[in-house]
Subunit: 140 residues, 2 copies
């Protein structure tokens, strides 16, 4: 297994180099070994971990949650109730966000469709934004 440089890790995990260093500083990634010339070297495990982190971030997990999950992953003998709790919390969260965004989409769509292409005077976009009472949805 040949060592992986930070740039390659960056490409393979689709995470920018400074962000990798940031994750290391925040304790999400283990302190990597260094070459003689003081460069970080990684292995395949780090690629997986970093993908895990990126993926979790895309799912909206906060750094703290991710650290908790990684801690858990590092201790396979512990029951996974905690990981489950974190994930469930996020499921609820995601449902909420989808509902909100769907409502907002309705409004935004209506706004765009009602725009007559004329002056701002008769532009519904600004009107609708100005008066919350005109919203199509009350989900927010």
């Amino acid at each position: 297994m040949k060592p992986i440089a930070i740039g390659e890790l960056s490409r393979r995990a689709a995470v920018k180099v400074p962000t990798i260093r940031f994750y290391e500083e925040r304790g999400l990634l283990p302190t990597p070994e260094r070459t003689e010339g003081n460069r970080r070297t990684y292995g395949e495990a780090d690629v997986r971990t970093l993908r895990f982190i990126r993926h979790a971030r895309e799912l909206g997990f906060e750094i703290e949650d991710i650290r908790a999950l990684l801690d858990l992953a590092g201790h396979p003998e512990r029951p996974c109730g905690e990981a489950d709790a974190i994930a469930r919390k996020h499921l609820a969260d995601i449902d909420d966000r989808i509902a909100r965004l769907t409502g907002l989409r309705q409004e935004m769509k209506a706004m765009v469709e009602q725009c007559s292409g004329g002056d701002v005077r008769e532009c519904r976009i600004i009107e609708v934004l100005a008066d919350h009472g005109e919203c199509l949805s009350d989900r927010h």
Copy 2:
């Protein structure tokens, strides 16, 4: 029309007091008049403007976009193509976010359901997050 204090404005527009001052500093709210004792005083127009801002923020508009919209609103003689463009950009954005979140929801749901309640050893949550290839969706 009696003057409105910042606290009342805050309650009526559902925007925190420091956030109001922040918006003022960022040029989203006009510099308000002051009382003899140096307190900001607002009017009904400010309530509407602030609601406009809050609403736009909830829709995910950035401060810069909001400033552009407000500028437009202040010049009713200009054509509203720009407002339309901003709103359209956001509609596309929202659609994208909904699609992504829906995919993520699937995954998250599968994760939670597959959690056996046993050890981390057989916990799907960590596995699924660790390996992007197991995703149910390719939308992200």
